[in-house]
């Protein structure tokens, strides 16, 4: 085996062991994240069951076009991420760098669209509180509280992902990775895909309730 850029750490006996530990650690972290978002999904399910009508009415005020575009952006960013990991596996530093940058750019685009959407939501009086849009039942505010929290926490995760992948891109630039050692890229990728998966569920839950009735 080529001497990897980052040496074997003291506590491990061999590289595969170290890599398996890191990957398994990442999956454990993602399991934690599932439950972290789980508390929000639980709240959502509870109230949607209790107030189906109010949730449908409230959800009609979300901006479907932005939501759909953002879903497409994140799905595409997952593709570039997967390709980045593949490039790393093939020791192709140049393409690794390019795909990572592409993923970061998609992430930034996602946040941009989300920002536009937030701007419009606020202009639309959809921020819960005393100035909340009139004409909606009180329970509709719960939908919007959840909308802001869920998309907000998700956006925070996207931001963390962007920072993480930017660091990876810089490291790739400096030739830190090779086919023998690319665990950080792989794990950042797992994180990025996870963020994508969360959005895959947020999209129908927040944007697609009873659309046909709108």
């Amino acid at each position: 085996m080529n001497n990897p850029p980052t040496a074997l750490q003291d506590q491990f006996v061999e590289m595969p062991q170290q890599k398996e530990a890191a990957t398994l650690g990442m999956w454990t972290f993602l399991a934690t994240e599932v439950l972290f978002f789980g508390a929000m999904f639980m709240s959502y399910i509870t109230y949607r069951t209790a107030y189906p009508r109010a949730f449908a009415l409230a959800s009609h005020h979300t901006i479907l076009l932005f939501g759909t575009i953002n879903t497409a952006i994140l799905l595409t960013s997952s593709l570039t991420m997967a390709l980045a990991v593949q490039a790393a596996k093939e020791s192709n530093s140049r393409w690794l760098f390019r795909f990572l940058v592409a993923t970061v750019l998609f992430g930034v685009a996602f946040l941009g669209v989300k920002g536009l959407e937030y701007h419009q939501d606020i202009a639309d009086h959809l921020w819960p509180g005393p100035h909340f849009k009139s004409g909606l039942p009180p329970e509709a505010q719960i939908f919007w509280v959840l909308y802001w929290i869920m998309t907000g926490v998700h956006a925070l995760h996207v931001t963390v992902g962007i920072v993480l992948l930017s660091i990876m891109a810089l490291m790739a630039r400096r030739q830190k990775f090779s086919g023998a050692y690319y665990t950080p890229v792989e794990n950042s990728g797992l994180y990025w895909h996870f963020v994508d998966v969360i959005w895959i569920f947020l999209y129908p839950l927040l944007y697609l309730i009873h659309r046909y009735a709108a």
Partner: protein, 558 residues
């Protein structure tokens, strides 16, 4: 354990070998250490701070409760005292106690590893934990919190006038420390076991720590998000639990207890693991029913997630859900019962000696059994209607958490003290302290069962006069208990300088951690040990030889 270890046998006393303690003596070498043993000690120091504050709060509460009138402190202060006691004890002492201190110290050694899987992450956990702790202390020092450790909405989110956000943020942050510790242990146990250390050759402490880690990883994030939702509601005035919008405060309780009930098992499973180590070692017996004890830990961790609704029988939960949760609660007590029976059978035909750790282990069995049995009272949903939210509950969980976890923690600390420090603690004083603690504990908390059945609600600053007699007993017991805690603190510190030098294996125990020097070198073992057999290969018939006891006692024995 049948092991082939070269290092411990070739012990060269001529030149003082470097230990993990002497490997760098600067403050920086401690604050930037990635050595799991040093991190364990860092946790021990910080826990001592949180424990002391929480214990002082408890002492003040017990003082206040000597008389029925609320005459010593105001009700506002009293409410802050029990909140400080609860939050600090639960999140900043009990949850990290055995896992972060003893777990960090012994897990890698027990599996024959050089360190945990992610040593830097381990250090980061300690910092995260203490950042959370500092926020909690900030909220304590600058006004306190008065929500109780349960943070029930809408009181916490709307009505409380205290530093709720700082405390919630502290717990939120410290929670990530716990998650990362759990993650680290899971991966360590999966990936770093020494050659030959199969799952069923692992000491039971590891099984219990593995189960604990699973709970830490899967339950803690829910608490974090729940407290975040509560804080958001408090900050912006609208939220998901707000009854004015149609929100349901009971949902907060569901989410809170989805974490907090399993968290109770974070606070007892490690104790069970320690006790399995102690009982076998001091009765020179292989554990009875190894597989059952091991799987009981896993069963408790999994079933522990299915029972949280028993905290909410009268909270407005549907009666059908109450009945389901009642049944599941009874089922989770089965594996605990199995463990107690197995420990009992382990003593059969053993060769039992009564060093301090063993006294704590026996104390654990007694107190845990009482705590567990009173759990059956609370799981009986019809009876719970009467005793929930009374002192009966207070007594019950103190029997589990203090009688169980803290007793086991003390037992474990005494047991591994020679390994940690290289010094022996004074045995006679240790035995005395264990006895004092046992008496003090029972006097403090047993009367509270009766108080609870009489109907004294918890979190009462002033109470009806007929409850006084039991409160006085309880407060008297608390002062004895206090002595029981102070004594070890004093002699532990004393032993650092003046304690007898500890041999590598003072208890003649079989765990891998005893196969290296006391204190161990930086990476634990000079050579990676190879495991060839099951754990706890003790023999009750060969105990008269090679014990650490003074020659006089050995002679008397033979």
């Amino acid at each position: 354990m049948n092991t082939t270890v070269e290092s411990s046998e070739i012990f060269v006393p001529a030149r003082e070998p470097k230990t993990y303690l002497t490997e760098g003596r600067t403050l920086k070498s401690w604050l930037l250490t990635t050595d799991h043993k040093r991190i364990g000690l860092l946790y021990l120091y910080s826990l001592l701070v949180y424990f002391t504050i929480a214990a002082i709060a408890a002492a003040l509460m017990r003082l206040e409760l000597i008389t029925p009138a609320g005459d010593m402190v105001t009700s506002e202060t009293y409410n802050k005292l029990f909140t400080i006691h609860g939050t600090l004890m639960v999140w900043f002492f009990l949850i990290p106690s055995i896992p972060a201190v003893l777990g960090n110290f012994v897990i890698p050694m027990m599996i024959g590893a050089r360190d945990v899987a992610f040593p830097r992450l381990n250090l980061l956990s300690w910092y995260i934990f203490n950042i959370g702790g500092s926020l909690a202390l900030y909220s304590v020092l600058f006004g306190g919190v008065d929500t109780g450790w349960t943070f029930y909405t809408p009181y916490s989110s709307t009505y409380a006038n205290s530093h709720v956000i700082a405390m919630a943020a502290g717990i939120f942050i410290a929670g990530f420390g716990t998650i990362l510790t759990g993650l680290n242990f899971i991966i360590t146990i999966h990936k770093l076991r020494a050659p030959g250390m199969t799952w069923f050759r692992m000491p039971l402490f590891l099984w219990s720590m593995y189960s604990t880690s699973v709970i830490m990883v899967l339950a803690t994030p829910v608490l974090a998000m729940t407290l975040a939702l509560m804080s958001i509601e408090r900050i912006w005035g609208v939220g998901v639990f707000d009854p004015k919008l149609g929100g349901d405060p009971v949902l907060f309780q569901h989410l809170f207890w989805f974490y907090s009930h399993p968290a109770v098992y974070i606070m007892i499973l490690p104790g069970m693991g320690v006790v399995s180590e102690l009982i076998t070692c001091f009765s020179r017996k292989q554990i009875f029913g190894y597989h059952f004890v091991a799987f009981a830990s896993v069963a408790i961790a999994v079933l522990g997630f299915l029972v949280w609704g028993h905290h909410m029988f009268v909270a407005g939960e549907s009666i059908y859900a109450g009945i389901v949760f009642s049944f599941l609660s009874y089922m989770v007590s089965v594996p605990s019962a199995i463990k107690v029976f197995n420990w009992t059978m382990t003593l059969y035909r053993g060769s039992i000696s009564f060093e301090t750790p063993m006294l704590y282990a026996l104390g654990f069995i007694g107190l845990f059994t009482v705590g567990g049995l009173t759990g059956l009272f609370l799981a009986a949903v019809g009876l719970d209607v009467h005793v929930t939210d009374t002192y009966f509950v207070v007594a019950h969980f103190h029997y589990i958490m203090v009688g169980g976890m803290v007793t086991a923690f003390m037992g474990g600390l005494h047991y591994w003290w020679p390994k940690i420090t290289g010094r022996m603690y004074p045995e006679k004083l240790g035995q005395l302290a264990a006895l004092i603690m046992y008496i003090g504990f029972n006097l403090t908390f047993f009367p509270q069962f009766i108080l609870g059945y009489l109907g004294m609600p918890r979190r009462y600053h002033a109470y009806a006069p007929e409850f006084q007699i039991y409160n006085v007993m309880s407060s008297a017991g608390a002062s004895i208990l206090g002595v029981g805690y102070l004594l070890p603190l004093i002699y532990f510190i004393w032993s650092l300088k003046h304690g007898k030098k500890a041999p590598a294996n003072p208890w003649n125990a079989t765990g891998l951690e005893w196969q290296t020097t006391s204190p161990p070198p930086k990476h634990n073992f000079k050579e990676t040990p190879v495991v060839t057999g099951p754990p706890y290969q003790y023999s009750a018939e060969e105990t008269e030889i090679a014990l650490h006891k003074p020659a006089k006692e050995q002679r008397a024995a033979s």
